[in-house]
Amino acid sequence: MGRRTTTTGRIIRTGFLYFVRNAWLAVAAMATMIITLSIILFSIIVNATFANQVDQITNKIDISVYLKDTVTPAQAKSFVAKVERLSNVEQVTYLDKAAALRAFIKQNSGNDKLLAAVNETDNPLPATVKIKPKDLNKMDEIRSFVTKPEWQKLQSDPISDSGERRATIDKITHATNILQRAGIIAVAVFALISVLIIFNTIQMAIFNRRDELQIMRLLGASTGYIRAPFVVETVIYGVFSAIISILIINALFITASSSLQATSLGLLEISYSQQYFQERYWQLLLMQLTLGILIGAASSMIATQRYLKFKTPKK
C-alpha cells in the first residue's frame, strides 16, 4: 500500500472519528442541511408536476376551422398548406366530413340518443381543420389569419378554440412562478443558515481540538492532513442529510397517498409527483448527495481556511 493511500485512509478514519466525537454539534448542522435539501427536492418535484400539467393542457388546445360542404378538396388543401406555413403552427390536421363524423361518433360513444339522431340524417358535420399552436400566447396570429375574409368565405361556422383552458394554464403558470421564487428564496436562506451553522460547528470543533491541532502542526503534519478530516466530517453530514431528506420526501408521499386518499391537492397532482419521484429516485438521490457533499465540503474548506491559522506570523 502506497504512502498516499495510507494517508488517505487515515484522513478518512480521522474524519469519521471527528464526526462521532462531534455528534451533538453535527446534529444541528445536519438538521439545517436536511431542511435545505428537502426544500430543494420538494421544489424540483412541484416544478416538474406543474410543468407536466401545463404540458398536458397545452396539448389539448387547438383551433378548429369548419369548412362549408361546397369547399373542394383542392381549396381545403391550399388552405391547409397556407396555415402550415404560419410560424406559430405546430401541427395541422384535416378531417374531411366522413372523418369528422367518425371522430364525433367516437367522442360520443356513450351517448346513444345523440348518435341515433346523427344516424337519422345525412352526415351533418362539416370538414374540419384542426390547428395546434406552438405558443399559446401567440394564438391571435392564427386566429387573425383564418378569419381573413378570403378564408372566412370557405367556412360554414365561426371558428372554435379551446382558449378557455388558458385560464387554467395561467393559474398554474402563476402558481409555478410564485413557488419557484419562494423555493429559490427558501433554498438560499436555508443554504446560508446551514453554511453558517457548519462554520460554527467547525469553529467549535477546531477550538475543542486546538491542542491536538497544535501538536500535529509542530510535528510537521501538512496543511492538507490537518484540514482534510474536517472536510471528511462535513461530507459525512452531507451524505446523511441527503439520504434523510430523500427518506422524508418518500415518507411524505406515503402519508399523502394513504391517508389523504387523494390524487390531487388543489393544483398539485400528487399521483404524478409520486410517479416522478419514484421514477427518478436514484437520480434525485445522486443529486441530493452531490449537493449535500458540495455544501458540506465548501463550508468546511472555507471554515478551516479561516479558523486554522497556517501562516507563520509576519516579522
Binding site: 510535528l219 506570523p313 516579522k315
Partner: protein
C-alpha cells in the same frame, strides 16, 4: 547544522526585543546547552528554529535550509526534520504511549507495519517499552517527558531541540531525561537543550551558550553555569 547570523526578534514597540543580534553556530552531532533566566529569550530562539516565529532581521539556516527562502507551505517539511521536546510534554491525553509516538509517523504517511516495527524500538531507547499501552495520565512526569522524546526521535531527525524538558520534573526524573538525551546524541543526533537548571549544566560538561537580556553573553565549551537569583530591590 544550525546557523544564526545577527538574528533579532522584536514584538512591537511596547513589548520590545526578545532577541538582539544573536549569532551562533552549532556543528553536526554537537550537544549544546542554551542557558538563561526566564524571559532571557531562550524560548523565542527555539520558536525561531521551528519557524513558529519569524525573525525581525538576521539569517537562520538549519540543516541546509535557509529560512528566508522557505515558503509557508514547506514549513511541515522543515518540522519533520527537527525533533522537538516541550516543557509541557504536549502529549495527546486520549492516546496510549504507543499511539502518541506512532502519531508522529502516522501524520507523514508511514505504513502501519513500519510503525509497529519502529515504535517499540524507540520506546526501548527511552526505557518505556513495558509501558506502551499506558495512557499519559498514568505516567510520572519523567516518563511523560520520555514519551515526548520518543515521539521527537522516532522519525530519526538530524536535530533534536529540547525546550526546558526538565522544567517540570524532580531531580531524579530530570536526570533520567538528560540521560536519554545524551544517549540520542551518542547515536549522532545534534541536540540543542535549553534549561536554567545549573546542576544539569554543570554535570553534563558540554558547550554552554548563555543568553542574557536577549543577547548571547558567553559561548564556551565545558562551561559551568551559576544562575543568579533575581535582584529584588527594596523600596
Amino acid at each position: 547544522m544550525i546557523l544564526l547570523d545577527r538574528v533579532t526578534k522584536t514584538y512591537g514597540k511596547t513589548l520590545g526585543s526578545a532577541l538582539d543580534r544573536v549569532s551562533l553556530h552549532v556543528e553536526p552531532k554537537e550537544f549544546v546547552i542554551v542557558v538563561g533566566q526566564s524571559g532571557a529569550g531562550k524560548s523565542t530562539l527555539l520558536k525561531l528554529l521551528t519557524r513558529e516565529e519569524r525573525p525581525s532581521s538576521g539569517k537562520i539556516i538549519v540543516g541546509g535550509i535557509d529560512y528566508d527562502k522557505l515558503p509557508d507551505k514547506d514549513i511541515p517539511l522543515l518540522r519533520r526534520k527537527i525533533g522537538v521536546v516541550f516543557q509541557d510534554f504536549k502529549l495527546l491525553p486520549n492516546r496510549t504511549v504507543f499511539e502518541n509516538v506512532a502519531f508522529a509517523l502516522e501524520i507523514v504517511g508511514v505504513s502501519t507495519k513500519e510503525i509497529n516495527n519502529t515504535v517499540p524500538r524507540v520506546l526501548e531507547i527511552v526505557n518505556l517499552k513495558d509501558k506502551a499501552k499506558r495512557m499519559p495520565v498514568e505516567l510520572s512526569g519523567g516518563e511523560r517527558q520520555r514519551v515526548a522524546i520518543a515521539r521527537a526521535i522516532v522519525r530519526q531527525p538530524k536535530i533534536l531541540i529540547a525546550d526546558e524538558p526538565t522544567g517540570n520534573l524532580d531531580p531524579k526524573h530530570a536526570w533520567d531525561v538528560i540521560t536519554v538525551l545524551e544517549k540520542i546524541n551518542r547515536y549522532g543526533t545534534t541536540v540543542l537543550l535549553t534549561t536554567h537548571n545549573q546542576d544539569i549544566v554543570n554535570k553534563l560538561k558540554r558547550r554552554v551558550i548563555t543568553i542574557k537580556n536577549c543577547r548571547v553573553v558567553s559561548d564556551r565549551a565545558n562551561a559551568q553555569y551559576n544562575e543568579k537569583p533575581p535582584v529584588v530591590r527594596s523600596v
